[in-house]
Symmetry: C2
DNA sequence: ATAAACCTGTGAGCCGCTCACAGGTCAACA
DNA sequence: TGTTGACCTGTGAGCGGCTCACAGGTTTAT
């Protein structure tokens, strides 16, 4: 299989496959003309990578999991440890996004009653600089 | 003011100030020895940048707002248009984060009852590949 | 004068792709 | 046999928003 075939098979872009190949997550064979050929084992591997990405693992996490699984017997302890870490980060980012969303909504609603104004010497946009929720 | 002074004054890192300077959001004077000197107007500007970032504007948005405010009279229409766009993105990312968080939580709870297992010919980590919520 | 602490700008690196581009391959047709 | 043209290839660079490493300049204390 060449890059387009494997990409189409798993419904991702060729660039993503090439990226994973470039960073060593996938290791296809090289033919005489420099084209990269992917075997069934690479399909399994890529499917695994996509599943792991969908669970919030970083590509470095995945590299670590793949190395562990090729060296020792069970990558599971590594997987359990890593998802714990990534879950914490995800919770944090989720909260951050929530706060940002509320801030943005508050701003837009507050701005409905405010007129446009030209900048002054010490104000660039009075909407942004005057937004109450940013006052510390 | 040199970079450290302005950074300390607004409680951000020198690297962030330098980054904004590098991309042209801040335009300090250069002294004979190449050091960059920031004036009070730059402090106003930087404060504006930080407020806008806290409202979800990208640095490119901010560049556009600054250009608009220096050319025409009121940057407010631009600001209103841009926050609309960014808010939509933020809502989307918030939802994505929510789904990811739930997926991760489901996985960890499902994995509590599953043993560690070594990889097989077509399985790298049975926890990840066997996770039910990823089955399409 | 000199030593140490601190500060400076520049260049590169980070993540996870995505895009631009020059050139290679291959089937259809003349 | 030649040739057009569609499609495919790998490589290198670019994105955002910083952050880090580093060599060298400046300032302060002795």
């Amino acid at each position: 299989m060449r890059v387009k075939q494997i990409a189409d098979a798993l419904d991702i872009s060729v660039d993503t496959v090439r990226y994973y190949t470039r960073i060593g997550l996938l290791v296809p064979n090289k033919s005489h003309n420099g084209y990269k050929y992917y075997r069934p084992a690479d399909v399994t591997r890529l499917r695994f990578i996509l599943s792991a990405r969908a669970l919030g693992f970083s590509v470095n996490d995945i590299k670590e999991i793949l190395v562990t699984s090729s060296q020792t017997n069970a990558p599971c302890p590594t997987v359990r440890r890593l998802i714990e870490k990534r879950l914490k980060e995800t919770v944090q980012r989720y909260q951050d996004m929530h706060e940002l969303r509320e801030r943005m909504r508050l701003a837009t609603s507050e701005w409905q009653n405010k007129p446009d104004q030209p900048p002054t010497a010490d104000t660039i946009c009075h909407l942004i600089e005057g937004f109450t929720a940013l006052k510390s």
